[in-house]
Amino acid sequence: MAETTDTVIVGAGAAGLFLAARLAEAGERVTVLEAGPERSTQDLISSQIWARKLKWSGPAVEERGNHPVGHAFNAGSGTGGSAVHHYGVWLRLHKGDFTVASDHGVGLDWPFDYEELRPYYDRIQAEVGISGDAEQEIWRPEGAAYPMSPLPIFSQGRVIQKGFAAQGKRTAPLPLAINSRPYKGRASCLYDGWCDSGCPIGALANPLVTWLPRALKAGVTLVHDARVIRVERDVNNPEKIAKVKYLERGSEKTLRAARFIIAAFTVQTTRILLSSADGTTPAPGNRYDQLGRYLTSHPAGTIFGLFESETQPHLGVTGGQLVSHDDYDNKAAAGGFGSSQWIIANAIKPHDLLGYGTSRPDIVGPQVKPWLEKAAKHIGNMTLVIEDIARSENRITLSDSTDRDGIPLAHTYHDLSADLINRWDQRMAEGQAIFRAAGATDVWQGPRVPMHILGGTVMGRDEQSSVTDSFGRVHDTDNLFVAGPSLFPSTGAVNPTFTLTALADRQADHLIG
């Protein structure tokens, strides 16, 4: 491998591999450093136990606050990053998500509006393929129609849909980056509910089947088990980064480049930048003490219920079958604060963290098997996602503890405000009512859990209140960029992979020129 290249990208996840492909296709020499192991689709074994291999397996991340971010569950490891085990729920942010601070006096605004990102949403959606029905999503911001018709609605979805209708609420097919028909050489979905373990057939748009083949074809060099320690400034021009230091199977190595893009997912991206302070110069992006701030994570929760009719809960996809954004746009509605969405009728298994067996720890002993047998035929579930609001005190910092290589661990602190917790409580109570209206005979809910991790290196218009500009360039460093969800100034209440990919597409256009 050459010791100098055009662009080094840290992280082979959704953003990193996408940018690698775009830049290499434009003629650049690109090297991607990935902390985890090499993976292929043949590693995506249909088992919730095996799937734990896909999750974060690097040094521990310390977590504090009233809503810890759940790094080990939300982060990934290896080729494709966390997007290998993402559920393919690809929704656009709403217009109001870009102007939270201006509209409500809390959180942060994006440095541009929805109209700026819209063409990138449209372009990525055509390239990846999304199955859905834009007309039924009456709350959806303007944009091109989806290229594929929706995935089918199975019994579970139809049963729960009745509860929404009874409560005067609307649903639409959930837009998914999962093929309802063969699309651009990728197979259509089999509806067997193994998305959570990674989709080896290529129906779900994980980076192993979307960006990786393009990146490799364009000549990208991919280095695995390469854990980045820090980037270092050019001694002759401190406004530039000269090299990256990393550990490859225990040996420290150096790589020089003209440009560096850190796309190592929220916590590790910030950890790398924080570790790059050099004693006389603050860490990149941290002259105004902004680096690591505005860490966010969606508060989520699951409603469960048992129905008289059979629901076939093993059928479908992990992400769900239907969506409701009826309450999304009125962030300041009484009862709390923040947008919310329901993703409805997730395919579900009897065990694992999100399984129905785990959801009822009160059922033990001889009652377990008959209860599981009933649930396997009659359970329904849906997931609430609540917006998080960026707060400066929610922050990623370096721990005083180090890993076995002497590298400081990342420390995270994340609190939810009372307004957001109230909104979560309010919507979960409404969710239980929806299930009862649908005819559920037994209704219960799971705990409040963190879903997705964002922020820490947020975009903004000035260095005093953000880490990067709108293209992800670190304010105080000419050739250092960030990509991925750590850039998000606000979260909305939607899953972030579509938006982070559209954002990376906009970055790529800017970098290629």
Binding site: P200, T358, V364, A376
Partner: protein, 176 residues
């Protein structure tokens, strides 16, 4: 639905772990490892016994499905452990200590004449135990119950007992 496509994809799995049985390392399911008298690598036999007796009280069938060899073999993998504790705030490198402490707590409690495994799990669930050392008993209860669900119902065989079609894209190897 395309069963032939699934068949084409089958066989990509690799062994989840191996067990030391009769002086040799062999691939076996946790169930077979228990039946054949596996030698634990991290836990003691007494600790294994405590975990599986309480785990079986939580989820009947977990003992015979191989709860103890499942936990012990995963702990032996260190950072590669696939135990659910990884998701619940117990870093894989800290899991050995977590389970040893849990097992030792159970051994102490089960030695008391008033405690059967069934009585013990009720007290664990509500943190009603005195002199419980380490992470809260209710947390340990949740983790051990989730492990028991994994080993008893988280496999193709477990799905079959619940009459759930497994319908794998890539089958996990039957030998763990």
């Amino acid at each position: 639905m395309s069963l032939s496509r699934r068949r084409v994809l089958a066989g990509g799995g690799t062994a989840l772990g191996t067990f030391f049985i009769g002086g040799h390392w062999v691939k076996a399911t946790p169930k077979a490892a228990r039946e054949r008298g596996f030698t634990p690598q991290v836990l003691t036999a007494t600790q294994c016994g405590a975990l599986e007796s309480v785990g079986d009280a939580l989820v009947p069938g977990a003992l015979l499905a191989g709860l103890a060899p499942f936990i012990d073999s995963q702990l032996a993998l260190g950072s590669g452990s696939k135990l659910i504790a990884k998701y619940l705030g117990v870093d894989p490198l800290d899991q050995q200590g977590f389970y040893i402490a849990l097992a030792d707590n159970l051994i102490t409690k089960l030695a008391l004449p008033e405690n059967t495994p069934e009585q013990l799990i009720g007290a664990m669930a509500t943190d009603a135990l005195t002199d419980w050392m380490g992470p809260p008993a209710s947390y340990a209860f949740f983790v051990l119950r989730a492990d028991a669900l994994d080993v008893a119902y988280g496999t193709p065989e477990g799905f079959a007992t619940l009459d759930i079609p497994y319908a794998a894209h890539i089958h996990p190897e039957p030998v763990w």
